[in-house]
Symmetry: D2
Subunit: 237 residues, 4 copies
């Protein structure tokens, strides 16, 4: 059982009819329900709340942060970005979804542009597990299909992942590194590509399985502190 | 200018009409011509020669070994496999092509089964460069097409590559890590997936570009010896 | 609770007085006792048994194999080496200790010479955790000391580790990558440097902590099969 | 021949007598002379100049940026940090030295705190090459000594390096990952630990050798653009 916060900008669901039609209770709702059903303790934070929902208290209780954003990348306050990164360095897991590849916290943690090409055309995506031994792939078939997705294409401007778990095939001819593991400080990061605001990707049981596995994998493993400052020390010898 | 040996089992071209029709002078011939035209010094070694063509003298003169085999995996003498691995540890580059994924030297250097799934159906393959800054991708487009290939599918049972350069998309729905870089000892290894004995993949100019880049990248960079045995030493301090 | 087999050649303890003096019940004894006290199910296998103690039945019940050997590298039958590697590909954890760096199974899984320099002079070793977030470092101090060890020095002829957990400092002026994580197939491998047959390294509580963490980390995470052979498949699309 | 800019804050040499005594012409001077003698085209930029010396014109002409800073981390304008990172993504090499581990550009590119422990006590450092096949180690001995250095100790809060080239041993009992290679976008980054403002580390011939090798290694290899923005695309198929 992991203590999870789903952080959703929660903007398009309330402003756009076609998004509301697919996710009437917010994009976070099916993710919350799935993770709760898997036994996790789940809370939801949204941008409309103070500190965009991520007060120090909320983050202190969060073992893994699952993140959706799409429209409001530049809206997020740098102090909140700093706070998230600090928590990641201390061991909080971080799971940015889909368009959160271009979010401030993910770009900050990667140190790269994190750009890609895309196409919104409701096309079929097949995800292949290339790292069969990885805990995030536990229980999955060798490959699985999402019938209608937005395409994301390489080159994806991220650092080479520590472990590459999934690679996507798209109907239109593209591929993408769709499940990428990183460590920053003590925190485990899993970027998971699938998702869209007008395709019901987050209703897919296989996506729920991946997210459950990812939350378990990303949970903190150690209480070791990660220093922020340089310290003068006496000889160890 | 790199000193290259193309090592070809050279069996099917002489025994099977449909292979002879595509590669009448051997699969090594178009590779040899392309690398020679790119300025390299190229020799060819085949299994019919003593030591399967790889005598100590040949290997001593070889900076990069490009390798095709398909039918005779188990035919290769272990002493020759040892000899190749020793040279790789000392810095020789090694570029196994396509079905050489299941060759003795590649499996020995990887330490894994190196198995995969395949389909011979002359289907379209598009290779995407996922590591745009890699020397092996120099001068290439973001993606390029091979019109008729044999499909290879994940999971590919190799260690996580040091650098992943290309990922393939196949018409039939599969993906593959098609350009994988490794180091073993001082030697650089580049596994390149495309190729087949009855599709003219090795006549493609873009494949020649990749192989030229790969040969330059895999050439030895250092004369530092890699020890074979454990040695007792005095304190360094 | 993990099902552990400690595989010990168990030769020097019975043949050499100075080894018997330090490990009268075998080098496996303090490791067995420590892992059992940590809650694991532990059995011991030795070279004197049929199949050097690693029959298919024993390996089938083994989740993690901890391995000591020193004198009898070349004595181990290749069929047993094959059997171990197959089990690692399927997910069995493998923890070679100290001089097992030169064992057949470790060299086979690494694909490199695995050589190093050494010095037997009972000198102080300090291990530094360079990957503070790694589960194998859980609960440890930033660095810890072993008062009398055999020195191992770089360059250590292994592939670049997937994760480097510990780096050793030696009194005599050397360093060593003393905790190296690898994956081969689904199996997790942790090479741990400390240990010696005439220094009581395996009596140290901190070494017991590391081994307990390592056994937990290396336990199988998935039932996904890793194929051994290439298979022809129909289009996935 | 590589076009190199040495970027030096150039503050302590002019303000502190003990620094001036060791580097009367600036810390950049012996580095500049050594790289020029090695055949590179070298210019120097300092913080006193407009844009801290790194105008767009200067960066456009720079293939590799070598960087010393110590006192003025927070002084550097974010717009200049952005400009450096953009150039790195496009392929410029970046070689931060010693205390530049805590500089804005390095921290931005790493995405981590980059903190460490230190001790200024003129103690002996021995660097071991752990990656003997790496171009940056070309021509070096297995290990080499710097007689008087400032100690830096693990844990060093950086992402796991793509390649670890050097590990340092310190007289006082510590170790450090002293030569770390990364890629960000198309740019190659080499963090090199040795150096200090009051010990003549940059007068050491072996340090000149490393810097020459590093400059050659970090030089741009490709003109492939790295996108900054997400683009909508038509199907590739």
């Amino acid at each position: 059982m992991v203590s999870v916060t789903i952080w959703n900008e929660y903007i398009q669901e309330r402003a756009e009819d076609d998004v509301d039609a697919v996710y009437p209770d917010g994009i976070h709702a099916p993710i919350r329900d799935a993770l709760a059903a898997a036994g996790h303790e789940v809370r939801v934070a949204t941008y409309a709340e103070p500190d965009h929902g991520l007060t120090p208290d909320v983050l202190d209780e969060t073992e893994v942060l699952v993140y959706w954003e799409h429209r409001a990348h530049d809206h997020v306050d740098d102090a909140v970005v700093d706070r998230i990164c600090e928590r990641v360095y201390d061991g909080m897991g971080f799971i940015p979804l889909h368009s959160a590849h271009f979010s401030k916290p993910f770009k900050r943690l990667m140190g790269t542009p994190c750009s890609l090409d895309y196409r919104e055309s409701a096309e079929r995506e097949r995800l292949w597990t290339v790292d069969t031994g990885h805990p995030i792939a536990d229980g999955l078939d060798e490959s699985f299909v999402l019938p209608e997705t937005e395409m994301y294409s390489e080159p994806f401007a991220v650092p080479e992942p520590d472990r590459l778990v999934f690679v996507s095939w798209f109907e239109g001819g593209e591929v993408f590194r769709s499940g990428c593991c990183y460590r920053r400080g003590n925190g485990r990061i899993f970027y998971f590509r699938p998702g869209h605001e007008t395709y019901p990707v987050y209703e897919e049981p296989v996506v729920h399985e991946v997210l459950d596995n990812a939350v378990r994998w990303a949970a903190p493993r150690t209480d070791a502190p990660v220093a922020r400052d340089n310290s003068a020390v006496e000889p160890a010898e």
